[in-house]
């Protein structure tokens, strides 16, 4: 019962998304273009000039792009897990309305995960198209790099959802972005190697899901073997996805089915 009904939930979200899909699709292309131009090309020429050869033996743009792909997926995942969930539980009350139908809490949470995963996939694919257009990597590598980005994005949906469903009000969300999402964005190896961080910060970067995704994506695009074995990183990301989804269920039940 859970699986088909969770698809019905995802379908409902898709129908809601349809109202604004044009703007959303445009921004999924514009955002990577702006980032790659500013950071990769603009800042990159400075970095490359200073180092003489670029980071890891490739241009800064090539170093940066796979990391930004993962970062974009991560941020999309966080947004879906935060605002979408707060809207469903509180602002639009759609979750409560759904629970009066045959849909139960597990199908509800799973359906939200499925739709959010679809959103993460959309922005990641858009990014890969831009990467190819910038000739940063051949199409095959660009699209293969979507896989780790997708895993990180979905892990972030799960983690953020688990956090949001425990909040009493939306006031906790800006804090979450300030102290979790933005630091993860800045310090997980997207803009510079984690080895450049102070020693005490490195282990923290290592436990973020994002670090593992960035390493994998960069391995695919640039060809440098990652520090952690890919199988371990993938397993680690899957564990976050499963745990985050699982731990979101009972607070939803407590709040919406008191």
């Amino acid at each position: 019962m859970t699986v088909p009904l969770s698809l019905r939930v995802a379908e409902a979200e898709a129908r809601f998304y349809r109202r604004t899909w044009r703007g959303s699709v445009v921004s999924s292309f514009v955002t990577p273009i702006l980032y790659l131009l500013a950071m990769g090309v603009g800042l990159g020429s400075l970095v490359d000039e200073n180092l003489g050869y670029g980071l890891d033996g490739v241009s800064y743009l090539t170093f940066l792009a796979p990391g930004l792909l993962v970062a974009t997926a991560m941020q999309t995942g966080a947004a879906e897990g935060a605002w979408k969930v707060m809207a469903g539980m509180k602002w639009r009350e759609t979750w409560k309305a759904r629970l009066a139908s045959p849909i139960g809490v597990p199908s509800l949470v799973l359906g939200h995960m499925i739709w959010s995963a679809a959103r993460v996939l959309m922005v990641s694919v858009a990014f890969a198209i831009v990467m190819t257009a910038f000739q940063i990597a051949p199409p095959l590598q660009s699209f293969l790099a979507v896989v780790p980005a997708f895993l990180v994005g979905v892990a972030m949906v799960a983690i953020t959802t688990s956090f949001t469903v425990r909040l009493k009000s939306e006031a906790g969300l800006p804090m979450y972005f300030r102290f979790v999402v933005i630091p993860m964005f800045l310090f997980s190896g997207v803009f510079f190697p984690v080895s450049n961080l102070p020693d005490w910060l490195q282990p923290i970067a290592l436990v973020t899901p994002m670090y593992h995704g960035v390493e994998l994506a960069r391995a695919i695009v640039v060809g440098i073997p990652p520090v952690v074995a890919p199988a371990i990183s993938v397993t680690y990301l899957l564990a976050w996805i499963i745990a985050g989804t699982y731990f979101a269920v009972s607070p939803v039940r407590q709040k919406l089915k008191p």
Binding site: L5, V9, R15, R19, T94, A97, R98, G104, K257, P258
Partner: protein, 308 residues
């Protein structure tokens, strides 16, 4: 029993230590429309939510359509229609999309839904609002959309939690008319309300709830007959005057109620009572004679008014 759609025995709901529904018993039969009448906080919604399998039963037994809401929730909910107390439609979507999305939760196909939505919009008289956004509708129209939404799965049991609260009289009458038709089609209805006229209009049988308990049960007419004399004489006095004459009013009849601005005197012979009042020097500002209603039953049973 085959024709008993709901059986509740010692049904209890607690939130922490607070007892919201306190050991109640009732039976709802196939095809009847059954009411829960009571003031704010009586436990009506808590009871509806247990019946609707969206709130766990704390203790006691509850069987709905022969199913256990605690263990067979999804199966039960697929056969229920629910109109919640609050309007929880998706404000950003159209009437049609709201109904379509909700119908899909019941795994109904798009083509079945297309026809059913057209029928239901016709039924609630909103065909011309099919593509309107919910946020552009009036309160009464939203309520009608929710009723259509609740009927999307052709439920065996339709649960309505305060279907007309907050609506103007005209909108209420439109809704009553629709609900009356459903009843005639044989749909079993459960309705909660603050309004005695609503209960009198729609319910074959009802229970009066107060502070989590059922304080009376019967048909609207039966309850009135059982608990109050036939007529009420309402005597209105200038502010402050009532206190001084409370004792004398209480001597007028076996049963009286003193409210802030008026006294209610219950009697089987209003004419005689009026003449006694006229002969006395009580001199109320106005006198009004009316039939006893469920409101009076409630006042009698609890000493408080229904709508405060």
């Amino acid at each position: 029993m085959a024709d008993e759609l709901i059986q509740a025995r010692s049904l209890t709901k607690k939130f922490g230590d607070f007892v919201a529904v306190d050991d109640i018993n009732f039976v709802v039969k196939q095809g009847e429309s059954f009411g829960f009448l009571g003031p704010n906080g009586a436990g009506k919604t808590s009871t509806m939510r247990m019946i609707g399998a969206v709130s766990p039963v704390t203790s006691g037994e509850l069987s709905v359509l022969g199913l256990d809401p605690m263990t067979e929730g999804p199966r039960l909910r697929s056969r229920l229609g629910v109109v919640p107390q609050e309007n929880n439609l998706d404000e950003d979507l159209s009437v049609y999309d709201n109904l379509l999305i909700y119908g899909r939760y019941f795994d109904l196909s798009r083509s079945v839904l297309r026809d059913r939505i057209a029928e239901l919009l016709e039924f609630v008289q909103l065909t011309d609002k099919k593509d309107a956004k919910i946020s552009a509708l009036s309160g009464g129209m939203k309520r009608r959309v929710i009723i259509a939404r609740g009927l999307i799965n052709e439920p065996d049991l339709f649960i309505l939690d305060e279907p007309t609260t907050g609506l103007d009289p005209q909108a209420r009458h439109v809704l009553w008319d629709r609900l009356y038709r459903l009843k005639q089609q044989g749909v079993t209805l459960i309705i909660t309300t603050h309004y005695m006229d609503e209960a009198e209009q729609l319910c074959d049988r009802l229970v009066v709830m107060d502070k989590g308990k059922i304080v009376a049960e019967g048909s609207p007419a039966g309850l009135i007959k059982e608990h109050t004399p036939r007529d009420v004489v309402e005597l209105r006095f200038a502010p402050g005057e009532l206190e001084a004459i409370t004792g004398r009013i209480e001597d007028l009849a076996e049963h009286t109620e003193i409210l802030a601005d008026r006294a209610l005197v219950y009697t089987d012979d209003a004419e005689e009572l009026i003449s006694i009042v006229s002969a006395s020097n009580l001199e109320p500002e106005t006198e009004l004679v009316r039939r006893s209603s469920l409101e009076d039953v409630f006042l009698r049973l609890t000493g408080r008014t229904l709508v405060d």
